[in-house]
Symmetry: C2
Subunit: 293 residues, 2 copies
Amino acid sequence: MRNTIEVTHAARPVTYTVDASNERGETVPTAIAGEHALTLYLDKRELVTLMTLGAAPESLAIGYLRNQRIVRSADELAAVQVDWDVDSVAITSRTLQQTGITIWEQRDRQQELERKMGRRTVTTGCGQGTVFGDLMDEIDTIQLPASAMLSEEVLYSVMDRVRRHESIYKVAGAVHGCALCANSGEQRGEILNFVEDVGRHNAVDAIAGWMWQQGVDGADKIFYTTGRLTSEMVIKCAQMGIPFLLSRSGLTHMGHQIATRIGITMIGRCQGKHYLLFSGAERFVRLQTSTIA
Amino acid sequence: MRNTIEVTHAARPVTYTVDASNERGETVPTAIAGEHALTLYLDKRELVTLMTLGAAPESLAIGYLRNQRIVRSADELAAVQVDWDVDSVAITSRTLQQTGITIWEQRDRQQELERKMGRRTVTTGCGQGTVFGDLMDEIDTIQLPASAMLSEEVLYSVMDRVRRHESIYKVAGAVHGCALCANSGEQRGEILNFVEDVGRHNAVDAIAGWMWQQGVDGADKIFYTTGRLTSEMVIKCAQMGIPFLLSRSGLTHMGHQIATRIGITMIGRCQGKHYLLFSGAERFVRLQTSTIA
C-alpha cells in the first residue's frame, strides 16, 4: 500500500487582465498568463527557484524532485506545503517526519548532490533548464514496455481532445501545455491530466509529480506536449516510463537520436489529421495501409 | 580603444534531415534542428553545459557570461575557443593571458560565485533556465535612455524584415529566433544580428555576446524575439540597455510588471500589421492618431 503525500491545494489565479493598445490606438483589455517565483525547500534546504504559472505548484514541486533525481520514490515524501505569502513550497521527507532527521543527514546525500550541482547541465528548454548532470547517463537503463501499441485512432482521439480542451493558452497565450492520456481501458484516448505553465519543463514536471502522487504508471499512457521535442523532453518522457510522445511542434536532432535509441514512439507536428511519425514505428498501428507508393 | 576578443568561428551544421512517415504512410524526408551539448569553461573552471543549436557558439558563451553576471565587461575576456571534438568552449580571461593567474584566483570571486550558485533561480524559459540568483536585485539600478523613441513605421519595418528573413525556423521549426535591429542612422529598422537557437534564452544570450564582441550599445536598438516575454526575457533586454522589446508571442504578468517598472516599451503579438503595446507608450509614436473612440 502506497503512502499518501499530504499536500496543499494552492493554485494561483492563472490569468490577469492588463490594458494594451492596438495598431488602431484602441485600448484592448488583454488576458496575460501569471508568472510567479516559487522557491523549493526540501527538509529546510533551499533547492531552486522556479518561475511558474502556479496552476499546479504541489505537483510541480514533486515532479521537479522526481525528474531531477533528487528523490527516488514518492514514498520518500511526507508533505508538500505551498505558501504563496512567501512564494515557497516546503517539502518534508518521511524520514524527517518519522525520525526528526533530515533526508540530507540520514542519507548522507549531501556530497553526491553537490557533485551533481557542480556539474550542472543547462538544458534546452526555451532557456537553460537545469538538470543535475547525469540524466543522460540513465538513458540506457530505461526499459519501455515492449508490447505497448498506439493506434492511429487513439492518436486522433488524443489530438482532438487536446484541441478542444479548455486552456490558458487559448485565453492568454504565453504558456505551454502537457497532457497525460490513457492508452488502455475505458478511458483510452482520454486526457487524465492536463497542465499548463509558462515553462514547458515545468508542465512536464507537474505531470510527473502528479503521476507519483496518484501512483500512476506510464506504461499504458501517452504523453502530449505543445512544446518542442528536445533532448530533455524525450528523456523526461522515458523516465516517466511512457512509450508514446506526441507534440504539436517539431523536434531536434538530439531529441530524435535519443528517442530512437530508447525506442520511444515519437510523433511530431500533430495538427488536425496530420502528423509525422519520427521513431518507434513498430509500436504504431495505422487505421489502413496507404496505397500510395 | 576596446580590446579585441580572439574567437573561433565554429558554427555547427544547423539542420539535419531524417525520414518521417506521415498520415498517408508516405516517407517524408524532414529537416530538423540540430541540438548539441556545449560545456563552458572559464579559465579552466567548468561552468555549465548548454544545449544549443550551435549556430553562434562563441557569442553564446560570451553572452552567457554577460547575462549571468559572471563577467562584468568584455574587456575581461581575451579568447573564446570552441572545440566541437570535445563539445566545449574554453574562455580565457585577459587576467590569465597576461599574468598567468586565473580570473578566479585574482579576483577572489570564488566565494561570491558559490554564494550565487547556491541561490540559483531557475527561470521560465521553456524550461528551467538558470540565473545566478540576483538578476532581480539589479532591476532598479537600470537606466534606459529617456529620449529614445520608436515610431510605428520602424516597428513595421522590423516586423517585415524579420518575417522575410531566412531562418532555420521556416525549414525545421523547433527553434526560437531573436533579432537586434537599429533604431537610428541609415540602418534604422534593419536587422543587425539574427540568432536562432533551440533554447530561446540561448538566442538572447548570443545577441548579448555579439553586442559585447562588437562593442555595440543598446540605447539606439530594438530587440525582437519570437519567444514569450517572461520576466527573464524582459530583464535581459533591460540589462542590454535596449529600450524596445518586441515579440511575436504574448507575455506573462511578471514580464509586464517588470517592463512597466523599468520603463521598457514592450510590444507583443506582433504579426503582420497587428500589435499590442503593453508598456512604455510614452516612447512610442504612432503614424496617425486613431479616430476610433
